[in-house]
Symmetry: C2
Subunit: 149 residues, 2 copies
C-alpha cells in the first residue's frame, strides 16, 4: 500500500489519518473537547483564560467557552487573580483530576486495544508519532507548569 517518501504525500496522508483518528476517537470514546483542556491545566498549573488558549492552541473566546463548560461540570474553578483584577485563575478541582484520570484511562485502553491487534507497533513508534505531530504544529510556548495526578 502507500509507502511514499514524498513529504507532500506524507503530509496529506498524515492530515487525513489524523482527522480520522480524532473523529473516531470522538465518536467511540465520547470525550468532549473541553476534557483536553484538563490536560493543559494539569501541565501548566492554574492559568488565565488567554494563557490557556495559547497553550491549548485555540482563540480566547473559544477557551472562555471551554472553561465555562468545565466550571459548570465542576472540573475546574475560577478564582480571582491576586494582583490583577481583570484576570482569573482557572484551576483543576479534585473532580477535575478524577476526570482527567478517567479520560487518560479511556485513551490508554483504546490505544492499548489497537496496539494489541498490531504487535509490530512499538510504544517507541507511538512516541515518534506524538513528536511528529507536536512538531507539525506552530507550538505556542513551552513554559513549564505544575504537576499532579
Amino acid at each position: 500500500m502507500p509507502a511514499a517518501t514524498d513529504p507532500s504525500v506524507l503530509g496529506g496522508e498524515l492530515a487525513t489519518q489524523a482527522a480520522r483518528f480524532v473523529r473516531t476517537l470522538r465518536r467511540e470514546l465520547d470525550i468532549p473537547a473541553s476534557a483536553r483542556v484538563l490536560s493543559v491545566l494539569d501541565e501548566h498549573g492554574p492559568s488565565g483564560v488567554t494563557s490557556l488558549a495559547s497553550a491549548y492552541g485555540c482563540t480566547q473566546p473559544t477557551m472562555s467557552a471551554l472553561v465555562a463548560q468545565l466550571v459548570e461540570q465542576g472540573w475546574t474553578e475560577k478564582s480571582p487573580h491576586p494582583t490583577d483584577t481583570r484576570s482569573t485563575l482557572v484551576s483543576l478541582t479534585p473532580a477535575g483530576h478524577s476526570e482527567l484520570a478517567r479520560v487518560r484511562r479511556l485513551n490508554g485502553e483504546h490505544v492499548a486495544a489497537r496496539l494489541a491487534e498490531h504487535p509490530t507497533l512499538t510504544t517507541a513508534q507511538l512516541r515518534t508519532a506524538v513528536e511528529v505531530l507536536r512538531v507539525l504544529v506552530p507550538a505556542p510556548e513551552t513554559q513549564t507548569g505544575s504537576t499532579s495526578s
Copy 2:
C-alpha cells in the same frame, strides 16, 4: 517535558496533538473536509456513496452531504450505476484531480515548512506517524482501488 512510555499517556498525548494538528491545518490551509474525500476517490476509483463512507470512515448521510458539496463544486460527478439503479458511481472530474493536486501541494508545503524548522525530523519518522495513526483507527476495508495523478 512529556517523554512517557506509558501507552495511556501516549494515547492521550496523541489525541491532543492530533486534534490540534487537524484544527491548525483547517485554519491555516482552509481545506474543506470534502477535499479529503477526493483522496479516497483517487485511491479507490469510482465508488458508491456507502462504499465511500466506509472507506472515508464516516456515516452514509455524512458522505451524501460531502459528495453533494463536491459535485456542486464540480470536483466529482455522479453517474448511474450500470446494473444497480439504486446506486450511483461517484467519480473524480478533471477539476477534481486538479484540486486534489492543489490540496496535496498545500499540505506538502505546510509539512515541508515545519520540517525545515526541525532538521532532526526525518521523513521516515513522518511515515511512522502516518502508520501509527492508520493502525489506531478501526480500518474499514483495504480493498485495492484505481490510480491516477
